[in-house]
Amino acid sequence: MLVGQKPRRRRLGRESVAAGAKAVAGLIGIFALWQVLVVVLDPPEFLLVGPISAFAELLERPGYFASNTFITLQEALAGFALGTALGVLCGAALHYSTTVRSFLYPALIAIDTIPKVALAPLFIVWFGFGFESKAFVAMAIAFFPLVINTYDGLRSVPHELQELARINKASRWKKMTKIEFIYAIPAIFSGAKISISLAVGGAVVGEFIAGSQGLGYVILLANSQVDLPSMFAAFIVLAVIALALFFIVDRAGRKLFPWKNHSR
């Protein structure tokens, strides 16, 4: 099986541009559909507005959206980074330590299920209402997919590769760094791709709980003023940053593990 996996051909600039164009076309398609829906259904403004109103809103207050986006982005990235690091660590601990697995796996899952929104008051009390509490919510949500995917990725390292390491008396560390973690990279990155969206959502939820800036606060404010153009503008910005982060993570994963899904 290993021998059948070939390095992916590097995308030519042209192909990359074409892919980008299609993605943009897809997004524009969605926007168009949404606008058509709005025109046809003609829902009241407090229920649903079209993307045109949302974009108009964005253009009207670019500075406002930019500064709040920047804040949310920082929180999400901090949470994602922490959550990824912690998640990979925990996933690895689950794989390598029977003790951790037996005793902590259930506890981990249990803790993950408690809705972070419900823990809001505690977060505020523990972390105050600054940057930290939002990054913490983002981290708490982003963490779990990495645990699962790291653990499952490490578990699926083929037997022959394990034997190769053993016969060469590889230390545990060498075995991890030269075989197991590399093999698990695609699974770990699958997890990271799930997490990056969750981290952005987590930061926003954190801002819902306690915030006076960031896109979550923009949404909250828009909600209270029934200002749907502003709300949907925030949604669009959120979607765009999540999308960008997703593809950065995806691309990083392919860079690190380029021998999957080769063409020829």
Partner: protein, 259 residues
């Protein structure tokens, strides 16, 4: 007591237990010894337990009976410096060929600046000097096998276990590999356990040829080959050689086959 042997296999048995209670006794009452620097060929029918034997000696598979000592130490107490060529190449797809060859040194933490040059030499020896920076998917089956052989040799092992290393090679390439293995073995003085399906190859390379019998695997013959070293094509076409081949074939149950 066993210290004089490089490998000593004492009354070894191996039973695979499957979850449905279908036990498969693959090795039984196996006893044999390899002296330091000895080259032992192993032949036997497909499924007779050759791979299993190599894997138990290397410590990759647990015994269910008996004990194995490598350089006098029980393998269960920790592995010695062993290199193994597996029956399948098992190359890492994310490393190019020379980096695959260097892997054992990285595992052992003994990779030096020299190493790369030596790995390149080995690749040239097996005719793959030009493929050093290619990836395994760009190689033919036989080429992959040769990379795996280089990987086993790169760490200058004292004990070399090879499981049908030349199975995917054509006659010509195989011949040249045979010469190279003999040369390397003679120059390093390592002990070799060499599984092959080719009885002439077994005879030409081995100080001894051990014949593993079937169901369960046991040693049905252990024949010393008395040719001088280094051996050459002459020996291959001597009458004594044919006699050895015929004798071994009789132990396996073949009578002068087609291939």
């Amino acid at each position: 007591m066993n210290n004089e042997y490089a490998i000593s296999v004492n009354n070894v048995g191996k039973t695979y237990r499957s979850k449905d209670g279908h036990d498969n006794t693959v090795l039984k009452n196996l006893d044999f010894h390899v002296k330091p620097g000895e080259f032992v060929s192993i032949v036997g029918q497909s499924g007779s337990g050759k791979t299993t034997l190599l894997k138990t000696i290397s410590g990759l598979q647990e015994l269910t009976e008996g004990e194995i000592r490598v350089k006098g130490r029980l393998i269960s107490e920790g592995l010695e410096d062993i290199a193994m060529v597996f029956q399948a190449p098992v190359l890492l797809p994310w490393r190019n060929n020379i980096d695959n060859v260097l892997l054992p040194l990285e595992f052992r933490g003994t990779r030096t600046d020299e190493s790369r040059r030596y790995a390149q030499e080995l690749l040239e020896m097996v005719g793959l000097g030009g493929k050093a920076t290619r990836y395994s998917y760009e190689l033919s089956g036989g080429m992959q096998q040769r990379v795996a052989i280089c990987r086993a040799l790169v760490s200058h092992p004292e004990l070399l276990l090879m499981d049908e290393p030349f199975g995917a090679l054509d006659a010509m390439t195989r011949d040249s590999m045979n010469f190279e293995i003999q040369r390397i073995w003679q120059s390093t003085g390592c002990s070799v356990l060499f599984v092959t399906h080719s009885i002439p190859e077994a005879v030409w390379l081995g100080d001894r040829v051990v014949v593993v019998g079937d169901r369960p695997g046991r040693i049905v013959a252990d024949i010393s080959i008395d040719f001088p070293r280094p051996r050459n094509k002459e020996h291959r076409f001597s009458a004594a050689f044919s006699d050895y081949v015929t004798e071994i074939e009789s132990h396996i149950g073949v009578t002068a086959g087609i291939s």
